[in-house]
């Protein structure tokens, strides 16, 4: 039994001081969790923004290849407008490329060569000729849009070709089979390339060991099962599994050992396949790609033809290593050589990417732009606004000023609150079934999208508008009613104007939500591939967030940057809208 009066003795005692320390620690812990939570959210936001902005940067420029295009084909020279239109510009562009690099032979090499220039280049060439038919017959200098692969290489997405120091004099002797060359330097200049090749061997060995580990896990699992099972047939089957797996494991380990041994030994020669770094040599106007390398040289095959030479001094040849293996990048060694050659000749230009902001969608990343989606978003938002704003405001006026307090009104209120939390995809299904299916609104059109988004935005606008209307003091209403105005006149002439800033703020926030909405629009077909910029609310269209979704789904790497750039545009619009809302609130909102 403790008497209360004795408790005072504990206040300030040593015991209590010790307890207090613990209590303070608990407080500190809670505070730390809070800081960690805020920190986590901040980290997420920063990483998110970094991902988006960092990726978007690449989409801000595009590359052009400048080539001399002879427009002297008889068909062009003699041709009328129709012939100019019909002419095979694609073939012309390919011929020009072939003329630029005549050494490209065979289907594969040709295709690689043609891949340097975008498939859209021919259309731009045609546009230029149609614009100015007098060009026909001349040889004109044309900037042809580079393909996404070439563009990405120029931006360093696939690593870069790095010049390496070298001291020796180089000799190149054709080997017996005639296709390859024997390369020798007077000093061990190729030791670095060899070392890199050996590093690649270690990587391969590690991969083999990992495979062996997986096989070994199989051995363990099956072995254990074999021990546990009672069925002799089953055991036999399992033991056979163990057998094959351990054999495979040992084989893999042997391979790995072999690879590692080769990597460890000094000197020697290593073959360079597509999973090893690329080693390129420039000799005069030609290029060689090493396919086998030792300390002093090795075997090389020509990329751009070279003449055999003897004792070429160190400053007359170039030695380059690209440490990303050819198999891990979209751009081939040959393409790299061509691009580097063009670059050296000053035929490559990288300029600000205006196309991205003015073009419609395309399946080719270098041709794709967001203008179509932006215009689609504009039309959709226009429909949304025209529907949701008046209906939302009128509904809010009714509920605040006219609605009798009864169960029906209550039901409407509950309904509005629930609608605000219905998943957006359900609104998409509603649009699909009712507006597309029942009312026959055109599929993929901003009209359909706008209606669906309007229904989604409506609860937000109604709730915000009601709050704004409720904030108008009753004295204003009394004053108007006292002068003989009808209730309707009071609402529209006095209450509504005063509530307008609040209503607009709520509307803008609702519209910003609608602008970022994707799922319901996918449901009503706005995810279709639409190249043309929509000109009205019944055209097929797509919108910015859906464009983001589509692009993020494409495998081409260049789309990644464009997706991020499209997100930046979307976020920019959202920021602008929210800034407008904040401005309205700060500037006009009155506190009564």
């Amino acid at each position: 039994m403790v008497a209360i009066a004795d408790l005072s003795a504990q206040h300030g005692s040593e015991n209590s001081a010790r307890k207090l320390k613990r209590r303070r620690m608990a407080q500190l812990r809670l505070q730390t969790y809070g800081i960690m939570a805020i920190g986590f959210a901040a980290l997420a936001l920063v990483t998110l923004m970094w991902t988006v902005v960092g990726n978007a940067f690449q989409a801000m420029s595009e590359s052009y290849v400048t080539l001399e295009v002879p427009l002297d084909d008889p068909e062009l020279v003699s041709g009328d407008a129709e012939a100019l239109n019909r002419f095979n510009y694609d073939g012309l562009v390919k011929d020009v490329l072939k003329a630029e690099f005549p050494s490209a032979s065979g289907r594969t090499q040709r295709r690689e060569l043609y891949d340097l220039v975008s498939s859209g280049a021919q259309f731009e060439l045609r546009e230029a000729v149609l614009q100015d038919p007098s060009l026909a017959g001349q040889t004109v200098t044309v900037e042809l849009l580079a393909s996404d692969v070439a563009d990405l290489y120029l931006k360093g997405s696939y690593g870069s070709l790095e010049a390496r120091p070298h001291e020796g004099s180089l000799s190149i002797v054709p080997s017996e089979d005639g296709d390859t060359f024997q390369v020798t330097s007077t000093t061990p200049d190729f030791a670095e390339a060899l070392a890199q090749a050996k590093l690649a061997l270690l990587d391969q060995a590690a991969f083999q060991r990992n495979q062996a580990r997986l096989q070994n896990r199989g051995v363990e699992v099956f072995g254990r099962q074999a021990e546990e099972t009672a069925d002799p047939d089953e055991r036999k089957r399992l033991l056979a599994q163990v057998e094959t797996r351990s054999a495979e494991r040992d084989r893999l380990l042997d391979v790995a050992d072999g690879l590692e041994a080769r990597a460890r030994q000094d000197g020697g020669a290593e073959a360079l396949d597509t999973s090893a770094p690329s080693v390129l040599l420039r000799v005069g106007g030609g290029w060689l790609k090493m396919i086998e390398v030792n300390d002093n040289g090795g075997i090389a095959e020509p990329v751009v033809p070279v003449e055999p030479v003897e004792s070429l001094p160190a400053d007359a040849w170039g030695y380059f290593i690209h440490d990303l293996p050819e198999a891990s990048r979209k751009v081939s060694d040959r393409q790299i050589v061509w691009i580097e050659t063009l670059k050296e000749r000053g035929q490559v230009d990288t300029v600000f990417n205006t196309r991205f902001f003015t073009a419609g969608d395309s399946r080719e990343p270098e041709l794709a732009g967001i203008w179509g989606a932006a215009v689609g978003s504009f039309w959709t938002m226009l429909v949304t606004f025209l529907l949701a704003f008046p209906i939302g405001v009128l509904a809010a006026i009714y509920l605040e000023e006219f609605a009798p307090k009864n169960r029906i009104t209550d039901f409407v209120e509950v309904n509005i609150n629930n609608l605000a939390a219905v998943p957006s995809i359900v609104f998409g299904l509603l649009g699909l079934a009712v507006f597309l299916g029942f009312f026959g609104v055109p599929r993929s059109s901003p009209l359909a999208g706008g209606i669906v988004l309007a229904l989604m935005t409506l609860p937000t606008i109604i709730i915000a508008s009601r709050a704004a209307i409720r904030a108008v003091p009753p004295s204003i209403r009394d004053a108007a009613l006292g002068l003989g105005a009808s209730k309707l006149q009071t609402s529209f002439h006095h209450v509504l104007p005063l509530a307008m800033p609040g209503i607009l703020t709520g509307t803008i926030i609702g519209m910003a939500q609608a602008l970022g909405e994707t799922a319901p629009l996918i449901m009503i077909g706005m995810v279709a591939f639409i190249v043309d910029v929509p000109t009205g609310i019944t055209d097929s269209a797509t919108v910015l967030p859906v464009q983001v979704f589509r692009w993020s789904d494409f495998p081409e790497r260049a789309f990644e940057a464009r997706t991020a750039a499209a997100i930046c545009m979307l976020l920019l619009f959202l920021v602008l809208m929210n800034a407008l809302a904040v401005f309205l609130r700060k500037r006009f909102e009155r506190r009564w």
Partner: protein, 458 residues
Amino acid sequence: MTSAVFLFIFVLAFVFLFLARQRATAVAGGQLASLHSRPNYHGLYAFLLTVIGGLLTLIALSTLTDLYIDGTLSRSIADAVPDAPRIERQLILSDAKSIATGGVSSAQDQLRQDIADRFGSLETMRTWGVALLSLGIAVMGGLRAVRGITPEFRARNRSEGIIRTILAICAGIAILTTIGIVLSLIFETLNFFNNIGWRVDKFLFGTRWSPLSGVHSGEMDPDKVGAVPLFAGTLLITAIAMLVAVPVGLFAAIYLSDFASKRVRAWAKPMLEILAGVPTVVYGFFAAITVAPFIRRTGESLGLSVASESALAAGLVMGIMIIPFISSLSDDVINAVPQSLRDGSYGLGATKAETIRQVVMPAALPGLVSAVLLGISRAVGETMIVVMAAGQGANLTLNPLDAVTTVTVQIVMLITGDTEAKVAAGPAFTLGFTLFCVTLLLNIVALRVVRKYREMYD
């Protein structure tokens, strides 16, 4: 055509507005005070009559004739191929419509061509008929208003009555939307259940989800519409999301409401608002580009096999998306706990942490529960993150490193897939209906809890 009629009705309405105003002025004969309502109200009345008459006719007729045409054509298809299952008859109809409007159809035969021809002629008749009738009604409405103008006519009261009705209708649109959602979902759901022979149990408890395989032979296979893997996947991702969002959101809210200095609040709150304003498609991109590869790499370096579309990645990013939602709702309820309770606790010598844990949290509990419920409802209905970062195959697993699929992913896949829309709509809308019911339930419970809570402290 319809939009032209639509615009023309408004043009007519403005014409009648001016006519009515002039006539009212003329009737008053220079003494405006003799009119019961000012000329503007007579104009407004004429305007309203014209627009309402015209638009109502336009909408009603368009819809009804549409239904009529569909009905007639369906009947002739049924007569032509009495043995074909329902799904196929629907397919023929939509094919015929595609042919008539120059679209792509799944097959071409004589029947489809005939139906397409009939559809074309009916459609032309319909378009012109509807246009003429609605314009006619609009003109009649306008004329009636203009002819009825007398000094005694109470145009103001009449128009105000009409406007009031319009206001009420606007408020009723919320109910109409709900009804529309429920009806459209239920219609297709019943259709779907009918197609699987009313084996609702197979849908709710079956574990194999592959609804579109083998559907061409007619009815759907009840053994392939088990939605359990979808429910499990949704649940798994939602659970991961809540495991991230609830502690982070709650601790952030506690910190911001009771510990943070003004300066911290000044940047932390807008930061959370920005996080809340980021569109979900951006989160999806983030999940697919950054988070999923990161988790995969981390897992592999630890010797785990991680699917490239792991539930963990989608759940984690979804959790990040829901953090601001939870934190702002929790912030509201924590702030709604009266200061007097905190004072009472401090007055007894409690530390802040003790006050929060033992007084504020229990007091705010109902509000926090409803915040979590609303968060779950969000996570369950979230689409873009899972579409972009979660799997598509219906695996029944609880391993967060595996790929799972969700209800929303399947809806998107069914609707955007290559299968004929009429066929895919069944399972898609049924899933949609399930989703709607679950989120509705969560919302109603949450809103009720929060309302009770508000009453407690108001």
